[in-house]
């Protein structure tokens, strides 16, 4: 019986080896999925890279950091873009499925930007004030030096890495107020604020057009900073974070070449052009 199955196994083995050769000969495709914060930058990188490397096809999609990380664990993407760190439980799933530890690459820096309407007179907020707004403890702009008007709170959906980062680092891990309007993507948050003079939202610095950026201070006694290259580089802006690309294992071949290019001066120049901040 064993001999019979050995013969079958040999046939399967040959077929497998043949398919590996076929795959090796095919055009190199790199799939990238995840963070909506990173998606514009990732698309710019891909477009620029493919111009000089026509033998490589790079497919970029958004969906949120959680979606990208799930795809990485399922084996349906090569890189997961994330605006938060991968959790221990996610690394463990990767270990179970692929026997790998996962690989984290910091590709850019971002200051989480707090947006209000251009007509809103409020210029700066402390972390404590922002927390109070998003927990529903402060609900009128007049309590923050603004007009007597209700605060309309906008945020991201829970598959977003920005949602998680903001909750963990600004709200101290507490849940958002239940009446927060969750929107799919930072662009949607910005659009909402443009139309809503009483609105407040948060998102990546690269999206901040048509709205007013609120300067943020660590506490009441600290100076307030805008998310600029200088304030983020000097760690003065209190809600700055890294943006990441995760792979299952250390990248090799075309994947490694692409990451090396992203971290090069050319790749990091695009980071600045899009509105984020280089890692070094």
């Amino acid at each position: 019986m064993l001999k019979k199955y050995m013969k079958t196994a040999s046939v399967i083995g040959l077929a497998f080896a043949g398919s590996l050769l076929f795959v090796a000969a095919a055009k190199k495709t790199i799939t990238i999925k995840g963070s909506d914060t990173l998606v514009i930058l990732a698309q710019r990188w891909a477009e620029k890279y493919m111009q000089s490397h026509p033998e490589v096809v790079i497919q970029v999609t958004g969906g949120g950091s959680g979606t990208g990380i799930s795809a990485l664990i399922n084996g349906t993407t090569d890189f997961a873009n994330a605006s938060r760190e991968m959790k221990k439980s996610e690394f463990n799933k990767l270990k179970q499925r692929f026997n790998t530890l996962g690989n984290e690459i910091k590709v850019a820096k971002d200051g989480i930007t707090v947006y209000v309407s251009q007509s809103n007179p409020v210029k700066e907020l402390s972390i404590a004030q922002i927390r109070a707004i998003y927990l529903g403890e402060v609900s009128n702009w007049k309590d923050l030096g603004g007009p007597d008007a209700p605060i309309v709170v906008y945020g991201r959906e829970n598959s977003s890495g920005t949602y998680v980062y903001f909750r963990d680092n600004v709200l101290g891990g507490k849940d958002y107020m239940s009446s927060m309007q969750s929107l799919p993507g930072t662009a949607a948050v910005v659009n909402a604020i443009v139309k809503d003079k009483n609105g407040i939202g948060y998102g990546g610095a690269a999206y901040a057009e048509g709205i007013k950026i609120v300067n943020v201070k660590k506490d009441d006694s600290s100076p307030a900073y805008a998310p600029t290259l200088e304030s983020i580089k000097n760690s003065q802006y209190p809600i700055a974070r890294y943006l990441y690309m995760y792979s299952r294992a250390k990248p090799t071949g075309a994947m490694k070449e692409y990451i090396d290019w992203i971290l090069s001066a050319e790749g990091q120049e695009l980071v600045t052009k899009v509105g984020y901040f280089p890692v070094n």
Partner: protein
Amino acid sequence: MLRKLMIALPVFFAVIFGQESDNAAVQNESNNNSSSEKIAELEGKVNGLEESYLETKATVSKLARLKVSGYLQAQWAHAETLGVSTSKAGAKFDKGTDNRFFVRRGRIKFNYNNGLSQYVLQFDASSGGFEIKDAYLSFKEPWLKNFTATMGIFDRPFGYEISYSSSMRESPERSRVYQTLFPKEREIGAKLAFSADQGIASFFNLKAGIFNGVTTLQLDNDDSKDFIGRAGFEIPLRNAGMGIDGGFSTYLGKVTNTDTNATGITKGAAYEMYGEVFKRMTGQKGKEFNRQYFGLDLQYYLDIPVIGGLTLRGEYLWGVQPGTSSSSSFYQPSSGGAPHGAVYSRNFSGAYLYWVQCWGTKVQSVIKADYYDPNVDVEKHDIGVSGSGTGIADIAFKTAGVGLVYNWDANLKFMFYYDIPRNEKSFNLTNKDPYKNFSRDLKDNVFTLRLQYKF
């Protein structure tokens, strides 16, 4: 006349154009009013839609907390001979057949997660019937978010292989030692777990609980509860592309002897090993006997560039198992005074080792070896000696297995696996029934072809 005409014409045109101009103004005003009404109407509709959207969104957000997942394993198994009943490869065969199709597992799991608390209910519908697998609630403390309390039916917190999901495992079944010591893997009880995401504490984890100790479906018959726990560590060395995890587990429990065979002064018998024979003790009915397991487990992960990840998983278990004369499975006390046998206490040991290699993202190969010696105090031809009380339940098994897993996509996977068990042999266990003749190695190799769909 001409002069009159010269005066009349401008007046006439002034009146006509004046009227037209008035008409146009009226028309414009009317159009403006109409547009304003339309805009107001559209605004009303948009506001209505927005309200409706928010209501729907609130409902969808609540529903998003409910996750439904599941998997189904349908398989074909082919045994070396007709009627193999000793296999632990997932299939039993009737005497007239050496191959069969069946559904090994059909799971559906409902998980409502509210962030800090969750409710889990999992069912299994397979060729073996329908049963509840998981039914528990758990909640995380809100301050550090490192401690989680759980109560209900859930995996026993022992070792590594129990908590490694059947949907992820690269072989059809768990090793023989786990199948024997932890049937159904789950138990009713309460546990506390510690796991940190960051800092030095993230290198350690702990889970421990108190359980009835009589499996998930049976009524508990005593006040003695069993303690099960595991203290583990995780060392991710990402820069080196490797990781080492491991842990020490213990099971400290007792079973109550409900023997109904011996009556009168000798009410209730129990047996313990003295040398290579079981010694009978009387007057043991209602007395408690130790069920004590200890285990060490280790997992090693290595990223191999270009090829894929490798893992070596091993575990060694030892301890005391209260069983019966015919089985080394744990002693399940009788409920309601039904006829029941005596407790046979055995010192056991067992181990397994997996070598799993990923080939790219689709293919995994596995080589697995395990052994289980239900009674380390007696071996080979000393088993089954007349008057020793030993027999088939004391036979040790070593099993080798080799397999290939192909992950078609994120949902579907194929598994090809060949299981080769080798049993301990004893001249004293010669039997005309070829399925019980342990004087030779039983012909019980099994090939399994499994299709799994997971969502």
